[in-house]
């Protein structure tokens, strides 16, 4: 069926016929870069609208319904508003760091898009250490928040940034261990190989209960890592007004906002890739005919379907749960999630050695 691999192959062949290999590579890189920026903007618009519609649905409201049919142009109007707004820099702020912070947040989100396989054979960078790359790059996002909080010269921002620092550094451990359990089973850090290893069933089904635990821990940890409710202590608008981005306005605020949503997309995409098979259709062991039927659904739809399901789950958290307190947040990580995930990874390793998984 139509997957996105055809398009990329056509473009690649056509460019190599028209230009020298070096120029073809450069043009391909530019196209990829433009695609990432386009995807970044499109994801931001779609996810903001989705968040507003999901929250409206949960709060017995209609949500945006004035701009465009059913309000689908609402986020476009919001972006336009943010673009023309004045981007203020407070007088006491460290101007360089203050303006750098939103860019860092955005660049990190963009970098994280590189190794994700959006469909079969449709990947920007097939990296042999994709999992390591994701863990490493996603840690940089905390620097942008710390930078924003520190440079704002605002006490609320500072507190939000410090909370966020403690939070992201702690939860990265659990997220890392949860990711590691997939790596242990697959024996590869390459995201494409991880997806291919799930051709006869997704890891969440193949890996018995330990993988289910790892998946739940992963979802909790990445919710905390992306500063989403119930772990939105860095923003905590009822305590810290807006936390680390209190002083940001206009497009600088919009970049933080976009980066948050794109980060949510990325962590959900990684969750879908590692535990739910990425673009791999729903396959069951040796049921050949069933698997064939499933293959008729395009791989991109599988990937985006799983990712958006996880995004919906994370939005569901946000609109139902109250916020945790800072000490409860750290207790949850260090006293519960970390010991459980450490024990869990031992179980997974045992399972991998003895070959108990399907």
């Amino acid at each position: 069926m139509w997957s996105l691999s055809g398009i990329s192959n056509i473009i690649h062949n056509w460019l190599n016929q028209q230009f020298s290999p070096l120029w073809a590579l450069i043009i391909e890189m530019v196209i990829a870069g433009v695609c990432v920026i386009g995807l970044f903007a499109a994801l931001g618009l779609v996810l903001v609208l989705m968040e507003r519609k999901v929250s409206a649905w949960m709060q017995i409201r209609l949500g945006p319904n004035r701009v465009g049919p059913k309000g689908i142009l609402q986020s476009l109007a919001d972006t336009l508003k943010l673009l023309v707004k004045e981007g203020m820099t407070p007088g006491g702020a460290d101007k360089f760091l203050f303006n750098l912070a939103p860019l860092v947040a955005m660049i990190v989100a963009m970098l994280l898009m590189a190794p994700i396989a959006f469909a079969k054979d449709f990947q920007l960078w097939d990296l042999n250490i994709g999992v390591l790359y994701i863990s490493a790059v996603s840690s940089i996002s905390v620097i942008s928040i710390l930078m924003a909080g520190w440079a704002s010269n605002n006490k609320y921002s500072l507190m939000g940034a410090m909370r966020s620092g403690a939070q992201i550094v702690s939860y990265e451990l659990s997220a890392g261990l949860a990711i590691l359990s997939v790596v242990v089973l697959t024996g590869s850090l390459n995201l494409n190989e991880i997806i291919l290893s799930q051709a006869d069933g997704w890891w969440i089904f193949k890996g018995h209960i330990p993988m289910l635990i790892a998946f739940v821990i992963f979802i909790i940890a990445v919710t905390a890592e992306t500063n989403r409710a119930p772990f939105d202590l860095a923003e905590a608008e009822s305590e810290l007004t807006a936390g680390f981005h209190t002083e940001y306005s206009g497009m600088k605020f919009a970049l933080f906002f976009l980066a948050e949503y794109v980060n949510v997309f990325i962590v959900c995409a990684i969750g879908a890739t590692l535990f739910l098979g990425g673009w791999m259709p729903f396959h069951i062991g040796h049921w050949e005919s069933f698997n064939h039927v499933m293959d008729y659904i395009p791989s991109s739809i599988w990937f985006f379907g799983k990712t958006f399901f996880l995004i919906f789950v994370i939005m569901w958290f946000r609109w139902t749960f109250p916020r945790l307190r800072i000490d409860q947040l750290l207790n949850l990580e260090w006293k519960y999630l970390l010991p459980i995930s450490m024990f869990n990874i031992l179980l997974v390793t045992l399972m991998a050695i003895l070959g108990w998984h399907f």
Binding site: A229, P230, S238, E239, F321, I326
Partner: protein, 391 residues
């Protein structure tokens, strides 16, 4: 002896020292951070200003600064007649507008020795209890929002809207409602009133369990509320707390039970008491109080007697020379009206005892040693309405 103790108080008045430092660097000499929560802050639900001394995330001191919405309502009342001044009180605790009006009407009636018709008494109680439910609904939503859950707010407003519709139909307003006058009620009930209130009760009873599902039973919520902001019974009494805030600490202080007015002595209802004194106890008191209010309305809604809705009063009301005091139970606690009359058409001096002011004074005591996030939760459970504190 007197002067030396005063000297001592002055020296210990840390705030004079702190306020000087706030302008300079925002920290005390011990390196504590001072932050201003308010007057414009999402958690204060109004123009309350709290100067908080923080050690990291731990609160060392909370200092409420008042006066941002002071409209000198008490002074204004002195130039208004006894019929007019009641309406101003709707603007104090705007969520308990009817109950404030009720206290003023009761005080004038006490001074004039007006006996109001039975019908007016019953309707007053029903309106009071509807107001109480509406107020607690809004509190429930706002408190959930304080601790970071948005959705309950909309669920609370779904039921509150029904009450607002009833109020609009009965007295023409949805927020600053005026319906009680000295001598009874301003107008008779709308013919649909009973049927609408009954449909509200049906709706409320079907939805009240959702509140427990969405918020009360949530493990994050319980952890946030339990053993936080503890106010002991003795402290609650010494700070002059009243209403659900004091009843959460086990102080029996329901004016409706202790000094019944109107028909409260004829209806069956329980005074809700919790003994823990923490945020969760105050939360549970309010939640259970809503159910008791529904119970009161259920008993009265079919028993509204026929007859006049207003006693015959003189065109110009003149209170005899003397001092008059009445108190009622608003959604936030004990509300007192103290009128000094010189025998004229306007009060010589008027003083309102508002529940919010005393409840707020306990905040510093409760908040010391807890985290910043808990302060917001505590303020939520105190159910502060800023115009009620400042007047």
């Amino acid at each position: 002896m007197v002067s030396s103790s005063r000297q001592c108080v002055f020296e210990k008045n840390e705030f004079l020292f702190n306020s000087h430092m706030v302008e300079e660097i925002g920290t005390t000499t011990e390196g504590d951070l001072i932050i201003n929560v308010g007057p414009q802050h999402p958690a204060t639900h109004g123009v309350l200003h709290l100067v908080i001394t923080l050690n990291g995330e731990t609160i060392k001191k909370v200092e409420p600064h008042l006066g941002y919405i002071h409209r000198s309502i008490e002074k204004m009342c002195e130039s208004l007649t006894y019929r007019q001044f009641i309406y101003v009180t709707s603007r104090m605790d705007y969520l308990s507008a009817h109950i404030n009006n009720h206290a003023c009407a009761l005080c004038v009636e006490k001074g004039m020795q007006i006996e109001i018709p039975e019908r007016a008494k019953v309707i007053r109680v029903i309106m009071d209890e509807l107001t109480r439910i509406a107020s607690h609904e809004l509190w429930w939503g706002a408190m959930a929002m304080d601790i970071g859950a948005f959705t309950p707010f909309f669920h609370a407003f779904r039921e509150r809207e029904t009450i607002n519709d009833i109020m609009e139909e009965t007295c023409g307003a949805r927020l600053t409602m005026n319906y009680f006058v000295p001598g009874g009620l301003m107008a008779d009930l709308h013919p649909d009133f009973q049927q609408k209130v009954k449909s509200f009760i049906t709706l409320f009873k079907s939805k009240v369990d959702e509140y427990d599902e969405l918020v009360t039973g949530n493990v994050i919520f319980r952890n946030r509320m339990k053993d936080v902001g503890i106010l002991s019974k003795e402290d609650a009494i010494s700070f002059g707390c009243s209403g659900p805030t004091a009843r959460g600490s086990g102080v029996s202080c329901d004016i409706r039970k202790l000094y019944p007015y109107e028909v409260y002595d004829k209806v069956q209802f329980d005074e809700v008491l919790e003994t823990a004194g923490d945020s969760l106890a105050r939360y549970m008191v309010r939640l259970r109080e809503m159910k008791q209010s529904v119970r009161i309305i259920e008993q009265l809604i079919d028993q509204i007697p026929e007859g006049d809705f207003q006693a015959k009063t003189k065109a110009v009301l003149k209170l005899p020379k003397g001092e008059f005091y009445t108190r009622v139970e608003t959604a936030r606690g004990e509300f007192g009206v103290y009128i000094v009359s010189e025998g004229g058409t306007t009060p010589y001096r008027i003083k309102f005892r508002s529940p919010g002011f005393s409840n707020l004074s306990a905040l510093d005591h409760m908040a010391r040693g807890s985290k910043l996030g808990d302060l917001v939760a505590m303020m939520g459970t105190l159910d502060l309405v800023i115009p009620d504190i400042d007047r």
